[in-house]
């Protein structure tokens, strides 16, 4: 698909709002507002947002674990306040406040979140079976990391989506670390995308810091899936700016990651890079982008107030929710 100016600004807006929501959760951890833990997705915004922003209603966005699916949820239209409220244990959260950190909204195509790495492979397979049965051309974009690529669930789901020609886009966010385990020691192939060959599906590698590159690659795979030609694998090379879990350290193997290396990655901040590109290419002026930044900051401020004033999760509702 050709991205128009409005599309590009939408990508920018979604990335900024994702970053600000992420920052709000980290602030909430420091100040005690957040009830559980957080695995920040900062640095991943281009992939989280780029693979989902141009999906349509009826398509599913299955998040992996990183960022608790914040970017995918926002790109699918979830209000940040629902994400924040869920993390703060409030009844106004997208899962009514007792999940701790999950994101779900069926109307928006968010099937639910799960914290077990690699669990999403077979669930995605099932969503793909449903999309094919529906026959409406809907697709599933399913995220996973280099860490999850070690799970056996990947093999079963990759194989079956391919033999059944299911409308699925597998999106690997390779940030080169599974908690502290480097991908160089944990992934046998050069690229995770190399796996695609064995499953008879296309596999591509893109720069995960370039939101346009991600969006374009994913939408090619989406069109192929809609046409009934089956799954694809898009691997996005990226980096996370923060530790695996808030409060942890930046470790590779068992050694600290050198400051210079972290600084180099931070210089590839996908939001900063995209902003620069939009201005250099004359697509948007500084003042327009400043307004998007300001609007996002204002939305988060309003959301934080809303969350602060919201009631806590309702125990009665929780205890009535085990069975349908």
């Amino acid at each position: 698909m050709k991205l128009e100016r409005d599309d590009l600004l939408k990508l920018y807006r979604n990335m900024v709002l994702t970053r600000k929501t992420d920052e709000s959760i980290i602030d909430g951890i420091k100040t005690g507002r957040v009830v559980s833990f957080f695995h920040s997705g900062q640095g991943h915004e281009a992939t989280d947002v780029g693979g989902v922003t141009f999906l349509r209603k009826g398509d599913w966005a299955m998040a992996g674990v990183r960022g608790h699916g914040v970017g995918q949820a926002i790109a699918k239209g979830l209000a940040p306040r629902e994400f924040l409220a869920e993390h703060c244990g409030k009844a106004t959260g997208c899962c009514f406040g007792w999940s701790g950190f999950h994101t779900a909204n069926l109307e928006l195509g968010l099937p639910g979140y799960w914290g077990t790495v690699g669990t999403t492979f077979p669930i995605t397979l099932g969503l793909g079976i449903a999309c094919k049965k529906d026959g409406k051309g809907n697709v599933v974009v399913s995220y996973f990391g280099d860490g999850a690529s070690g799970r056996g669930t990947l093999h079963e789901a990759f194989n079956m989506t391919s033999i059944y020609k299911l409308p699925v886009v597998w999106l690997c966010e390779n940030n080169m670390l599974a908690i502290n385990m480097p991908a160089s020691e944990a992934v046998a192939s050069k690229d995770v995308a190399d796996l695609a060959y064995g499953y008879n599906m296309p596999g591509v590698v893109v720069d995960g810091q370039d939101v346009v590159a991600v969006a374009e690659a994913v939408m090619i795979a989406v069109e192929r899936a809609r046409a009934g030609d089956g799954p694809s694998l898009v691997e996005c090379k990226t980096f996370r700016f923060r530790p695996h879990s808030e409060g942890g350290k930046m470790i590779r193997g068992y050694q600290p990651i050198p400051e210079e290396e972290i600084a180099e990655w931070r210089s590839k901040d996908p939001i900063v890079l995209f902003r620069k590109k939009l201005i250099e290419q004359g697509i948007a002026a500084n003042v327009e982008l400043d307004k998007i930044d300001g609007d996002a900051a204002a939305e988060i401020a309003v959301a934080e107030k809303f969350v602060a004033e919201s009631p806590l999760a309702d125990p009665e509702r929780m205890f009535n929710s085990l069975y349908a």
């Binding site: 999940s99 669990t119 009535n320």
Partner: protein, 321 residues
């Protein structure tokens, strides 16, 4: 009311529910052919899109059911052996918990059909009765039918339930026959069936063990001992009220299952009886089940699995004979 066998009752339930609701589909290894014949003829009638054969990928089968259920379908997975469900326990746990852990608004209608059980000589890999592992999955319903009538009515209810259900089918029951009405019927979950009334002793038995309990109850009847046989039919939800009512009447209770007694379903039922009916007990609760061993293969399995003699010994002990 015609007599049909248990496998035919399962097949009728699948057929009727697939005809009634096009969202229902079957998935599993060799489901087109049907390893245990319970789904004969369905692929010819409903096509390969609704009788989905898979590679040997239990994890993907079980987990795909969750994805499809979230999206509005009603998958019925054939897991072939309940022993194999341990391969995909994470997926079944997620199916059980998905609704609760994601805000309580997502429906997860899945049936995991679990052919199971020993006395066929299939060894440690294919013989287990594993009720208790799935009773530990909060959000999962657990069904253990013992007759063709119950199997059909409970499977239809399971398929219409908006929650995940583990449905245990003992392989030795497939060829057992019993009356099944021509007209449609459903059996609600959480309603135990008093298979035989009695006044001296209560036997609560699960699945295939109900057959043995009934045979022995008849033998004891001839000796002037009146045994009440209760089949809980579903372990989650569990109809403890019917069991307690019976214990209050007889004062003596024997719990029989094919699973290991250690942490077995009967351990849970026994403790609930203690909680609710301790004052009515005239004798300690007794249990008969498999020894705490893997199941041996071939004829040696008899030394591990519960036997009719074990049940007779327990009955006599309870009666003080």
């Amino acid at each position: 009311m015609a007599d049909i066998n248990f496998a035919r009752a399962i097949s009728q339930a699948l057929d009727e529910e697939m005809a009634r609701d096009e969202k229902v589909y079957m998935i599993g290894e060799d489901v087109r052919a049907g390893v245990f014949t319970a789904q004969a003829g369905l692929v010819q009638k409903y096509g390969e899109e609704r009788v989905i054969d898979t590679p040997i990928s239990e994890t993907a089968i079980a987990g795909s059911c969750l994805g499809a259920a979230i999206a509005g379908y009603r998958p019925v997975a054939d897991m072939m052996f309940d022993d194999f469900m341990l391969i995909c326990m994470d997926e079944m746990k997620n199916a059980a918990q998905w609704r609760f852990a994601n805000g309580g608004f997502i429906k997860v209608p899945i049936v995991y059909r679990l052919p199971m059980g020993g006395y066929v000589g299939l060894g440690a890999d294919h013989s287990r009765a594993m009720f208790s592992p799935v009773m530990h999955l909060a959000g999962m319903k657990v069904v253990v039918p013992s007759t063709p009538y119950d199997a059909k009515g409970l499977l239809k209810t399971a398929i219409r339930d908006d929650n995940p259900v583990c449905f245990f089918e003992h392989r030795l029951l497939y060829r057992t026959r019993g009356p099944v009405p021509e007209e449609e019927y459903l059996i609600p979950f959480g309603v135990a069936d008093v298979k035989k009334e009695g006044s001296d002793l209560t036997i609560v038995a699960l699945g295939y063990m109900v057959q043995w309990a009934m045979e022995l109850a008849k033998e004891y009847e001839a000796k002037g001992v009146s045994i009440e046989v209760i089949d809980p039919r579903t372990l989650e939800p569990l109809d403890i009220d019917t069991i307690v009512k019976s214990v209050e009447k007889t004062g003596r209770v024997l719990l029989v299952e094919e699973d290991m007694t250690r942490c077995g379903a009967t351990a849970e039922i026994g403790m609930q009886i203690m909680d609710r009916a301790f004052d009515s007990l005239d004798a300690p609760i007794l249990r008969v089940g498999a020894k705490n061993f893997p199941i041996a293969g071939g004829p040696m399995e008899k030394l591990i699995l519960p036997s009719k003699n074990d049940i007779i010994t327990a009955i006599d002990k309870l009666l003080g004979r």
